[in-house]
């Protein structure tokens, strides 16, 4: 049985029995969707953030960076992407993190694999995708997110862009990496405070995202979206990617909308490209990275990410039906 069945039952009871809305009516379906999804997503978010933050506290970048100097091409990019997935990283630490990597001799391409993978293959996002789309789509998202990071970092590494990094970065010397000791209780408390910070910051966006999802669920006829962005339209993927870049919103807010888009017949590849561009590429991140990178490098970074995400979207359109996902 679905673990969320009690929530589904409660949402149905509230909507159709307590408020007396008609089953199958637009307003009724939209409201039931909203009342079911809000507690479900918030609950999942709390559990996922806690578990992920707790585990990640064992792997701070000060500790993991030594693995990144071990390989150059391919192997290095694979390690960079893998470390990017597990290392806790908030965009306000992007500058010291970048300098710390460069300073300890991590190749630029490997650093980029890390920087692409870290927001893209976010473990919290992954757990929400598993809950809403099923494990097949989540596994495909995970694999293709890693591919985007590995290939994107590989290409960026090949372009020899060291000259596009701000000069002062090369002059900074880092002391031996400090990683203060933590007890298990410290880690649990830290994880709990992370839950409060993240959920406190995003809950409103989550509700807005689900409200939009609920309205679309009840009111937007499937033919409209599938005609414009269905598998038959090859332009849907790049357009979705481009649309996702300025859309800087919490992944928890986008995923419910993404779920509805899929239900309404939008091609899975376009939805995944939209998701990836939204979480993986964001304007505030570029502004922070501008402190260490020259504008040309940021443009190349965005361009390559755009292309690899678009290709991934097409791959999804091609593979997903075969897997029956």
């Amino acid at each position: 049985m679905d673990v969320f069945y009690p929530l589904e039952w409660l949402a149905g009871w509230l909507t159709f029995d307590l408020f007396g809305l008609e089953r199958g009516s637009r307003l009724g379906e939209a409201l039931a969707f909203f009342l079911y999804d809000v507690p479900k997503i918030l609950l999942l978010l709390v559990v996922a953030v806690f578990v992920v933050s707790f585990v990640r506290s064992y792997l701070p970048p000060e500790k993991t960076k030594k693995y990144l100097t071990r390989g150059r091409e391919w192997i290095g990019n694979v390690i960079g992407a893998a470390v990017g997935v597990v290392t806790p990283f908030c965009s306000c630490s992007a500058v010291p993190l970048f300098i710390g990597f460069v300073e300890s001799g991590v190749p630029l391409g490997v650093t980029f694999s890390f920087l692409i993978a870290s927001p893209l293959v976010d473990l919290v996002a992954l757990s929400l995708i598993t809950a809403l789309f099923g494990w097949k789509i989540a596994a495909m998202y995970f694999v293709s997110g890693l591919m985007v990071a590995i290939i994107g970092g590989f290409i960026l590494g090949r372009l020899n862009l060291e000259g596009e990094i701000e000069e002062y970065v090369w002059k900074i010397r880092m002391a031996e990496a400090a990683s203060p000791e933590m007890t298990r209780a410290d880690r649990a408390r830290g994880a709990w405070s992370e839950v409060r910070t993240i959920v406190g910051r995003v809950w409103l966006y989550v509700i807005i995202g689900i409200a939009i999802g609920g309205l679309m669920h009840g009111y937007v006829p499937a033919e409209v979206l599938s005609r414009w962005a269905g598998p038959g339209n090859p332009l849907a993927v790049p357009v979705a990617t481009a649309f996702g870049i300025p859309l800087y919103s919490s992944v928890a807010a986008v995923i419910p909308v993404a779920g509805v888009l899929v239900d309404k017949g939008v091609a899975i590849g376009a939805v995944i490209a939209l998701l990836m561009a939204t979480v993986g590429l964001s304007v505030p991140e570029f502004i922070i990275l501008r402190k260490v990178m020259k504008p040309r490098l940021i443009a190349i970074f965005v361009g390559i990410s755009f292309v690899t995400i678009t290709i991934t979207g097409y791959l999804f359109n091609w593979i997903a039906p075969a897997l029956g996902a």
């Binding site: 970048p61 000060e62 990283f89 306000c92 010291p96 002059k171 400090a178 203060p180 408390r189 405070s193």
Partner: protein, 78 residues
């Protein structure tokens, strides 16, 4: 006693500075809070994840905003 808060001025760094100030006040310590925002100075402490808390030139907390109770324990340990 000098308590340093390392971070490039994001809101988490301000939060950590507030928590450190309150912790020192509640313990009745005579402490000055110093914000270190220059990236070269931050890296000189070996810190890659901000905000970080430095007491007596030693990095005690990095990459998160700790609770008031935790900072008080750290300060009391000296």
């Amino acid at each position: 006693m000098v308590i340093k808060v390392l971070g490039s001025g994001c809101c988490n760094c301000d939060k950590l500075a507030d928590v450190a100030k309150r912790a020192a006040d509640e313990l009745g310590l005579d402490a000055t809070i110093e914000k270190v925002t220059d990236i070269a100075d931050i890296m000189a402490y070996g810190v890659m994840s901000t905000p970080a808390l430095v007491i007596g030139e030693e990095v005690r907390i990095a990459g998160r905003v700790p609770s008031l109770a935790e900072v008080k324990t750290v300060l009391a340990r000296g």
